[in-house]
């Protein structure tokens, strides 16, 4: 295992697990959404890391106009993640909007309390 070289990947996994654990283990709906955000961001890190090429530079044509002998990083994963970030923001915004409505309707954002209210109704 060459840990230093794979440092980003290890951190992506740590973030992924932390996020997923928060989603599962926390009863507070806002904390759940934060966990979901962390989980999504770990995937952004994973993608951006795979675009890095050793000694690669930003993929911009040098002023000389010739790209001969220059190693570029792969820009495609960055572009993909730009899209995924937009999706992530939309998801978080919608989730938080739902939490606001849930708070109005139930008076709490604790999952256990909401479940108790729902069960007493059913």
């Amino acid at each position: 295992m060459e840990v230093p070289g794979l440092f980003n990947y290890w951190m992506a996994i740590v973030l992924m697990m932390a996020g997923l654990y928060t989603v599962i283990a926390r009863g507070n709906l806002v904390k759940k959404l934060i966990g979901l955000g962390v989980f999504q961001i770990s995937v952004f890190v994973l993608y951006i890391t795979m675009g890095k090429i050793k000694d690669g530079t930003a993929p911009i044509l040098p002023a000389s106009g010739s790209a001969e002998g220059v190693v570029f990083s792969n820009p495609l994963p960055h572009v993909l993640i730009l899209t995924a970030i937009v999706v992530g923001i939309a998801t978080t915004a919608l989730g938080l909007a739902l939490v606001v409505r849930i708070h109005e309707a139930f008076g709490t954002i604790e999952e256990d309390d909401i479940q108790a209210i729902e069960e007493s109704e059913a």
């Binding site: 979901l36 999706v87 409505r101």
Partner: protein, 496 residues
């Protein structure tokens, strides 16, 4: 094709996408309804044209913006894509006609236009998922359809719709993110996102753990989105508390398109790697499919709310589809694919009919529906027809699916599986019988005195689908023919 028809694959997605902001800008419920209906029917026309073209000339590609694949985004239309496009747009068309009265009754006037905006966005996402040939583009459409679905579910009358929607949002996002991880790992090994290109390059990398991990992430991620047992926890509440029109749309399309994604990615892209047979993918799938058929059908029998019972039945029916897929034979796959259409037709008919009951009675609980068969005879007759189809009685579409599925199981010499398929149908008899018993065997109480038959537009939609579930049950040559062609095309890329 030349002329404007040349751009049909792009237009099928772009027109619903552009209509959504127009509906929001107009802010009028009737304008929203009119546009949503027009767009749905236009999509149906375009989907039928695409299907016709595929059947005539075979699969074809459309290059977005003229950029050649694999660099540009390719829209690929083969028999399976066209079939799914027709299912989605046909259900959306029927539901859109129905939605007017239902939405007026269930959603506050100042929010109604938003319902229609979300309706067309959802349609756009589902059609896009079916037509695209690019794995990452599929993720974008998946999220367009998912985000609009969360909003549609959250618009339900009951406050429990909000918690159902949030639960769906969390699980749906986890599923979609798993999908992105899987695609990312596959991209890492192959450097491409084009599905056809991926299918070509993956076999050389099949021995790496990266590719195996990618397959695992994809199966679980897509499994969450298609509510494959035991990943279905979000579905019952979401369908129960969503507005009636939204529930009918989702029951007919959302999980079906996810099953399509499963077929496209797991069989189409990973089929040639040989991992499906090297790892016990199909065996696990088969066990889970059988578990879904029995456990979820049994749970459906005990539900006091019929909408909820139908939601559990949906999970069971996904089991039938996955069982066909797990057999990995042409007949099995054709049974699964034809059931996509058959189940969409009958389950949407049932949800539409229950929406009409909710409109007139105010509840879909079974004890509130005693004697309803005498008050709303046309609606409940449609429930009976679609219910018989759910059981798999001859002359209905349900029979066609189950017959093909049993045939596929026997072809593979798996007679215990064939017996289990028939045995699970008995559970469907139990939950359909409960409806019959409540609707016709009891006298209507005084609280049903004012109940009238459903409005004509709603009845028309319900009966179009109930009629279709008999029509395509009597003459299944067309649907089954397309399904067989689709199965053949799909299996070409699957290593034995």
């Amino acid at each position: 094709m030349s002329g404007p028809l040349e751009h049909l694959p792009a237009l099928a997605v772009v027109i619903p996408l552009m209509t959504a902001p127009v509906i929001v800008a107009l802010r009028r419920p009737w304008a929203g309804w009119l546009l949503a209906t027009l767009v749905s029917w236009a999509s149906l026309a375009m989907s039928l044209l695409l299907l016709q073209q595929v059947l005539e000339t075979g699969p074809f590609s459309y290059l977005m913006g003229g950029w050649a694949a694999p660099w540009g985004i390719e829209y690929r239309v083969d028999q399976l894509d066209a079939f799914v496009l027709v299912i989605v747009s046909a259900i959306a068309s029927v539901v859109s006609v129905y939605a007017r009265k239902s939405v007026e009754a269930e959603i506050e006037p100042d929010r109604q236009y938003l319902f229609y905006a979300m309706f067309v966005l959802c349609l756009c996402g589902l059609l896009g998922m079916a037509i695209t040939g690019d794995a990452f583009n599929l993720f974008v459409f998946l999220e367009i359809s998912s985000l609009s679905t969360y909003v549609l579910v959250g618009m339900g009358r009951d406050r429990r719709a909000l918690t159902a929607s949030l639960r769906y949002l969390i699980l749906g996002t986890v599923g979609a993110t798993f999908y992105v991880i899987g695609i990312g790992l596959a991209y890492m090994m192959t450097g491409t996102l084009n599905m056809a290109d991926l299918a070509q390059r993956l076999p050389a990398m099949a021995h790496t753990s990266t590719v195996r991990a990618a397959l695992a992430f994809l199966v679980v991620g897509i499994g969450l989105k298609m509510a494959a047992f035991p990943l279905h926890a979000w579905l019952p509440n979401a369908y129960t508390h969503a507005p009636s029109a939204a529930a009918a749309l989702l029951a007919g399309t959302a999980t079906k398109v996810s099953v399509y994604v499963f077929l496209r990615i797991v069989l189409g892209v990973f089929g040639a790697t040989g991992l499906l047979t090297a790892l016990p993918v199909t065996q696990v799938l088969m066990v889970l499919a059988l578990a879904a058929m029995f456990i979820c059908s049994a749970v459906a029998i005990w539900q006091p709310d019929l909408k909820r019972a139908l939601a559990y039945s949906s999970v069971a029916q996904i089991g039938y589809i996955l069982l066909g897929v797990a057999l990995l034979s042409e007949t099995g796959l054709a049974a699964g694919i034809v059931h996509l259409f058959n189940h969409a037709v009958m389950k949407s008919a049932l949800f539409l009919a229950l929406g009409a009951v909710a409109l007139r009675v105010g509840s879909t609980r079974i004890d509130a529906m005693r004697g309803i068969g005498r008050k709303m005879p046309m609606t409940m007759a449609a429930v009976l027809v679609a219910g018989l189809s759910l059981i798999g009685v001859p002359l209905t579409v349900g029979f066609v699916s189950k017959w093909t599925l049993v045939e596929a199981a026997l072809d593979d010499g798996m007679w215990p599986v064939a017996v289990l398929i028939l045995a699970s149908s008995l559970l469907a008899v139990a939950y359909v019988w409960r409806i019959v018993e409540a609707a016709w065997m009891a006298q209507p109480g005084p609280e049903l005195a004012h109940v009238r038959e459903a409005p004509t537009a709603m009845l028309l939609s319900i009966w179009v689908l109930a009629g279709a579930s008999v029509w395509f049950g009597i003459d299944a040559t067309r649907t089954l023919g397309v399904a067989r062609l689709a199965a053949q095309t799909l299996l070409q890329g699957v290593a034995p």
